[in-house]
C-alpha cells in the first residue's frame, strides 16, 4: 500500500531506506482464463464424483426460496409470504435504498483502493440482497458476528461506513465499538466468529432474554472445524443463533464443490437443526427467511442454517485475479439475476416508486460517495504509540518498559535533527 508516512523523524544514516514496499503483488494481472468449459473445477477428475456432484446439484435447485423472480415478478410462497406480509411500499423503497447505497459505498471503496488510499478491499458486489435482507430482519438487541465482507449488514446496524475502512486502510485492526451497534468486529480468520456467535447466544439463553444472534460466513468457511463445532454447540445448547452462510460460489479460486459434496444447507440436518436455501439475490426472500429463522431462535427452537445462494460479482479482494479461475460468462449469467435490478423492476411494475425517488436516491448516492472519499483521505495515520495501546486491559510491566524504550528511541531522532548527534 502507499504509505505517505507522516513520521517526522529523519533516518540518522543515509543508506538504504525503509523496507516498506508497495502492496502485495499477489494479484498480478494479465493471466489467461483457465481451461474451457467447466467452471466448477472438475476438469480432469476421475471416477464417479463428477456425476454425483451434478446429481446433488440438480435435485436441490427447486428448494431455493424465492419471492421475487429475476424479472421482478412477485411469486407466492405458502411458507414464507407471512413473514413479509406487513412489508409496505415504503419498506420496499427502503430496502432498495439500502442496496443502492451499499453498492455505491462498495464501489467507492474499490476505487479508493485503486487510488492507493486503501491497502485492500473486499467487495460485496452482488451480495447486497443477502446482506440487506438478513440485516433488516434483525432487531436492535440482536447481535451480529460478521466476517470481513459484511458491509451491507454493517449499514443496517447503523455503523458509519467510513468506520469500516480503517482496517482496510491500515490505520487500525478494527475500528468500531462492537457493543454500540451490536455488530462485532470483522473477523479475518475464517470461521472463528461462528463459535463466538454461539457462545453469545448461549449467554442470551442463560440470561433469559429473547434476543437472537446471527453469524455470517462463506461457503469456503463451512469447511472449517470451528464452523462444525459451532453447529455442534449451538445444537446441544439449543442456542438462539442463525447461521447465515452466503454461498457466493467461490472461496478465492475454489468453487463450492471443492468444499462440499452436498448443498450446504443440508449440513444442518446432521446436526439436528433445520437448514434452508434462499435465493440470495432476492432481498424479500432473504428478509422473510431470516425473520423466520430469528423467530425460531427467539421462541426457543434453537439454531437454523440459512444458505443464501448468491454470487460474488467482483474479485475476492482487490489483490485477487479471478480471470485465472473463472469465466466471464459465469458472471454475465449472474448479472441477469442482479439483486438491485430485480427489485427496481418490481417497484416500477407495481408503481411503488416514481422517477423522483430514483433521482433523489442517485443524488444521495453521489453524496455518500463524496463523503466516504473525503473521510478516507482525511483519515489520520495512527499515533506511533498506538502500538502499545490496549495490549492489556490492566497494564503490563513489559509493555510499559518497551513503550519507554520506544519513546527514548523516537526522541533520539529529534535530537539528531537538531544536530545533537
Amino acid at each position: 500500500m502507499t504509505v505517505d508516512s507522516s513520521a517526522a523523524r529523519k533516518p540518522r544514516r543515509s543508506a538504504a531506506g525503509k523496507a516498506g514496499t508497495t502492496g502485495s503483488k499477489a494479484g498480478t494481472a494479465g493471466a489467461k482464463s483457465g481451461t474451457a468449459g467447466n467452471a466448477s473445477g472438475t476438469t480432469g477428475t476421475k471416477r464417479t464424483t463428477r456425476t454425483s456432484r451434478a446429481a446433488a446439484k440438480k435435485s436441490t435447485e427447486p428448494e431455493l426460496v424465492q419471492l421475487l423472480t429475476p424479472e421482478g415478478k412477485r411469486v407466492k410462497n405458502a411458507e414464507y409470504d407471512a413473514y413479509v406480509a406487513g412489508v409496505t411500499p415504503e419498506d420496499l423503497r427502503g430496502l432498495y435504498r439500502d442496496m443502492v447505497l451499499t453498492r455505491r459505498f462498495d464501489a467507492e471503496a474499490t476505487a479508493l483502493q485503486r487510488q492507493g488510499e486503501l491497502g485492500l478491499w473486499a467487495s460485496l458486489l452482488g451480495q447486497e440482497a443477502a446482506q440487506i435482507g438478513s440485516g433488516r430482519a434483525l432487531r436492535d438487541d440482536d447481535y451480529v458476528f460478521p466476517t470481513y465482507r459484511e458491509h451491507g449488514v454493517a449499514w443496517c446496524r447503523g455503523v458509519d461506513p467510513t468506520n469500516l475502512l480503517g482496517m482496510f486502510r491500515g490505520v487500525n485492526n478494527g475500528g468500531w465499538d462492537p457493543n454500540s451497534n451490536n455488530f462485532q468486529l470483522y473477523t479475518i480468520v475464517i470461521g472463528s466468529q461462528t463459535l463466538h456467535a454461539t457462545g453469545y447466544a448461549m449467554g442470551i439463553t442463560k440470561d433469559g432474554a429473547d434476543s437472537a444472534v446471527i453469524a455470517y460466513f462463506g461457503d469456503g468457511a463451512s469447511s472449517q472445524g470451528d464452523v462444525a463445532e459451532s453447529f455442534t454447540f449451538s445444537a446441544v445448547y439449543n442456542a438462539p443463533v442463525v447461521f447465515f452462510c452466503q454461498n457466493n460460489q467461490w472461496a478465492i479460486s475454489e468453487p463450492t464443490e471443492k468444499q462440499s459434496r452436498v448443498p450446504l444447507y443440508q449440513r444442518a440436518q446432521g446436526f439436528g437443526f433445520p437448514g434452508v436455501r434462499v435465493d440470495g439475490n432476492d432481498v424479500l426472500a432473504c428478509l422473510a427467511v431470516t425473520r423466520w429463522a430469528l423467530e425460531r431462535a427467539r421462541s426457543g427452537e434453537g439454531p437454523t442454517l440459512v444458505e443464501a445462494y448468491t454470487y460474488r460479482m467482483g474479485a475476492h479482494t482487490t489483490s485477487d485475479d479471478p480471470t485465472r479461475y473463472r469465466h466471464d460468462d459465469e458472471r454475465a449469467a449472474w448479472e441477469a439475476k442482479d439483486p438491485i435490478l430485480r427489485l427496481r423492476r418490481y417497484l416500477e411494475a407495481a408503481n411503488h416508486a416514481d422517477e423522483g425517488f430514483f433521482a433523489e436516491l442517485e443524488t444521495e448516492s453521489e453524496a455518500l460517495g463524496k463523503r466516504v472519499r473525503e473521510a478516507v483521505r482525511a483519515m489520520p495515520d495512527p499515533d506511533h504509540f498506538a502500538i502499545f495501546e490496549n495490549v492489556y486491559a490492566d497494564g503490563h510491566a513489559l509493555v510499559d518498559e518497551e513503550r519507554a524504550q520506544f519513546a527514548a528511541y523516537q526522541a533520539s531522532f529529534a535530537d539528531a535533527s537538531e544536530g545533537g548527534r
Binding site: S24, G119, R169, V189, G191, S223, Q224
Partner: protein, 325 residues
Amino acid sequence: MAEKMAMAKAINESLRRALETDPKVLVMGEDVGKLGGVFRVTDGLQKDFGESRVIDTPLAESGIVGTAIGLALRGYRPVVEIQFDGFVFPAYDQIVTQLAKMHARSLGKVKMPVVVRIPYGGGIGAVEHHSESPEALFAHVAGLKIVSPSNASDAYWMMQQAIQSDDPVIYFEPKRRYWDKAEVDAEAIPAPLHKAQVVREGTDLTLAAYGPMVKLCQEVANAAAEEGKSLEVLDLRSVSPLDFDTIQASVEKTRRLVVVHEAPVFFGSGAEIAARITERCFFHLEAPVLRVGGYHAPYPPARLEEEYLPDLDRVLDAVDRSLAF
C-alpha cells in the same frame, strides 16, 4: 546452469523438481491449484502434474495438516501450504500434538516427511493476520524442524532438503522477499539444511538473522562500513536446530552479538541464542548479547508496521549500544 530468479519462482522450480523426481511428493493447500497460490508460488504445477498431485484442499487448515499426516503414514511426502502466517493456528493443534510427536510415539517406526510452507513476516502493508512471525511458537516444540531461507538460491535448495527430510519441517517463507532475485544453480552442491552461513565477514560485531532480516542486516553492515565499523553477518537459515557452532565461532572472533528478527523479542528465538551464546562465549563477550525485534504487542496495522519492524536505524542503534560497552 545458474539462472537468476525471484524467490517465489525458485520455490516453484524446487517443488516442480520434487514432483518430477518423486511420485510420492504431493502439493496441497488452499488455492494452490488453478490459481497457483495467492503468491503464485505453485503456479502451473497443477496444470503439469494434475489434480491428484497438486491438490486444492477445502478451506480447513486442521484438515490440511491432519490429512497430510495420514498421507505420510501411507508413504506420501506432502508439501502443504498455509496461505498466510496468521492462518496456521487452526492447524497448530495437528502440528504440535500430532505431527511433531508421531515419530517418538511410534518408537521411531513412523516417519513424518511433511513440509508445512508458511509465507510469513511483515512489510507488505497487509491487513491483520497476514504479517506475523510465529516461528518461536513452533521452535519450542520438539519433533519439528524449522527453517527459513533468505534468498532464492537457499529457498530452492532448502525446499529440496526439507522434502527429503523424514522429519516434519516448518518452512517459513519470507513473503516480503518473494520478489527478490538471485542466482539459482540447480546443479550446485548445497550447504546442509541446518547450517548457518557467514554472508559477510567482519571483525567488530556479529549480526545474526534469518529469513527476511538477513537482507536488512547486510544493509546495516554496509551502512556501518561507511562509519568504519566492520560487521560480520550470519544467515542462520535454520531456527531449529540452530547452528550454535557457527555463531560461537563468529562471536569468538568479533566478541559482540546482535540478533535480529521480526518476531517479538520477548521469549523469541533471539532469547535462546542470547542465553546459549552467553553460556558458550562468556569470557569472549565484550557486551551482552542484544536483540532487535518486534514489541510485546499485536502486530500493528499497516501504517504502523515500519515503527514495529526492525529497520536500519534500530539495528544500527543496537550496534552502537553493543560497541559502547
